[in-house]
């Protein structure tokens, strides 16, 4: 099926319009949990992914981008490290659509993360992982954020976690056991059968 028809856009659509249409198509599935997705939903999602990838690949092969395919992202990484996020974003947006690969989406995700746009960051990391599934850096960035969804992620320092765990393991049974043992020890020392005052 024609990829433009799948994403419901015209072949003259700009790269930004293609991307927006893809996001709109995927939005209804993004709101569902993993176990709520039916087989039909998964097929539709695969079709949208394939249509988007096909359009990107077509434009890459037809495109007039005459420069080198391997864009130097080192400078952008340096700018992100120095917290010059707006400059990094401008440089990233100046790269034509045809050259946007996993690295591009990963760096955009990183910029969005530092800006505090966590939803957009997660989306960009997901696309980077999809375009380059073997890249450990992209996978780590995606999992690092995705694992925090459940709310059970304990971000306290290790010292504080262990202190909390120590108190959590002291139950009523532990207290009774402790008292019974103390009573036995007191009997041994004192010699009579009465409970001593410390119990």
């Amino acid at each position: 099926m024609d990829p433009y028809l799948t994403l419901k856009i015209s072949p003259d659509a700009t790269d930004e319009q293609v991307r927006t249409a893809y996001r709109e198509c995927m939005r209804e599935f993004a709101l569902k949990d993993e176990d709520e997705l039916t087989e039909e939903d998964r097929i539709k999602m695969r079709n949208f992914d394939n249509a988007y990838d096909e359009i990107v690949a077509q434009r890459q092969s037809n495109g007039g981008y005459s420069g080198s395919r391997s864009v130097d992202y080192t400078e952008i990484r340096t700018q992100i490290r120095k917290n010059k996020l707006n400059e990094a974003l401008d440089k990233l947006n100046s790269i034509p659509q045809q050259a946007k690969n996993g690295e591009w989406y990963y760096l955009q995700g990183l910029i969005h993360q530092r800006k505090g746009w966590f939803n957009a960051a997660l989306e960009n990391y997901a696309i980077a992982v999809r375009l380059d599934p073997s890249n450990q850096e992209y996978n780590q960035a995606y999992e690092n954020m995705s694992n925090k969804r459940s709310g059970g992620y304990d971000t306290r320092s290790a010292e504080r976690q262990s202190r909390s765990d120590r108190y959590d393991t002291c139950s009523c049974c532990d207290i009774c056991k402790g008292l019974a043992l103390a009573n036995c020890i007191c009997e041994l020392c004192d010699g009579d059968e009465n409970y001593c005052c410390c119990c």
Binding site: L31, G116, W117, G151, Y153
Partner: protein, 293 residues
């Protein structure tokens, strides 16, 4: 908008809880002496966090002493010395943000509620005029970000990232301008952005049913009602990323209390709103089916 940055009390040591309350009580006294007795009503836990964070990052050893409560003279409470500069900073932020919050509420409320807010504003204007002289840079930043926030909320197709950004930038401003001798500007800015985003989004989550009913702006209004868990997931991610941002900052003192607020307190707030929402929807379902709880 206020009161979402609080401790998870069961996880605090007694000495930590005492110190936290002492900062709160000292801040109450500072606001009263700086602005006036009725200004104390504006006190909130967010300002307490800011004052304590400033002391923590500067490594100030707060000295506790017993004093009588400024509101109830018969009650004895702990207060602290050593954080006057930070308390002034937190007090100025409290008054200025309260003023702009009330003006924002007037715009978004029905006629009678707006009338009540205008009455409250009559009291706050006097404090706000004082705050403008004490902290002109905070005043101009707050004015700028409130205007930017209302401009953003009037645009179409706003997702939570864009909606929360102006408040995130105000958070960045607050934490990058704290009276501080440390050299961690980038880390403080990022932490401020994360915290500002959290405050905006959890307020939106809490107000969602009212905003839907009254037709007010809310970035989550288009999320389906049964997808409450998706909104909670976004909030959990924000809370966890804020905690990661805190770990990048070097705190010289009171790390335990600050960690309790950021790593435990934030998640606890989200959980309590979720539980309320769930209990509310269960009771609605039972009422509709004719059974009583």
């Amino acid at each position: 908008m206020f009161g979402y940055i609080r401790t998870d009390r069961p996880e605090l040591l007694v000495k930590e809880d005492t110190l936290y309350k002492a900062v709160y009580c000292s801040l109450c006294r500072t606001i009263g002496s700086r602005y006036g007795i009725t200004a104390r009503l504006l006190l909130n836990y967010d300002a307490t966090f800011i004052a304590l964070f400033c002391a923590a990052i500067n490594g100030i050893d707060l000295e506790l002493y017993k004093n009588s409560c400024t509101v109830n003279k018969c009650k004895r409470c702990y207060m602290c010395r050593g954080a006057e500069e930070f308390e002034n900073y937190a007090a100025d932020i409290t008054v200025i943000t309260a003023y702009y919050k009330i003006t924002d509420n007037i715009r978004d409320s029905t006629f009678f509620k707006a009338l009540l807010y205008r009455l409250i504003l009559l009291f706050i204007i006097h404090f706000h005029n004082k705050a403008k002289k004490f902290a002109p840079e905070i005043e101009s930043a707050a004015k700028l970000y409130i205007e930017r926030q209302s401009k953003t909320e009037n645009e179409f197709n706003i997702d939570p990232d864009m909606a929360a950004y102006p408040t995130a930038l105000f958070g960045e401003f607050i934490f990058s301008n704290i009276p501080c001798s440390c050299n961690q500007p980038d880390e403080l800015e990022y932490f401020g952005r994360c915290l500002g985003r959290y405050v905006y989004l959890i307020d939106a989550y809490d107000d969602l049913p009212d905003d839907k009913r009254n037709g007010c702006f809310n970035p989550y209004v288009n999320y389906p009602e049964e997808k409450d868990s998706k909104i909670a997931e976004e909030l959990y991610i924000t809370a966890a990323m804020t905690a990661d941002a805190l770990n990048e900052i070097k705190l010289l003192k009171y790390k335990d209390i600050i960690e309790n607020i950021i790593c435990c307190g934030m998640v606890k707030r989200i959980d309590s709103i979720r539980t309320e929402r769930r209990d509310g929807s269960i009771s609605d379902t039972e009422n509709k089916s004719g059974r009583h709880r």
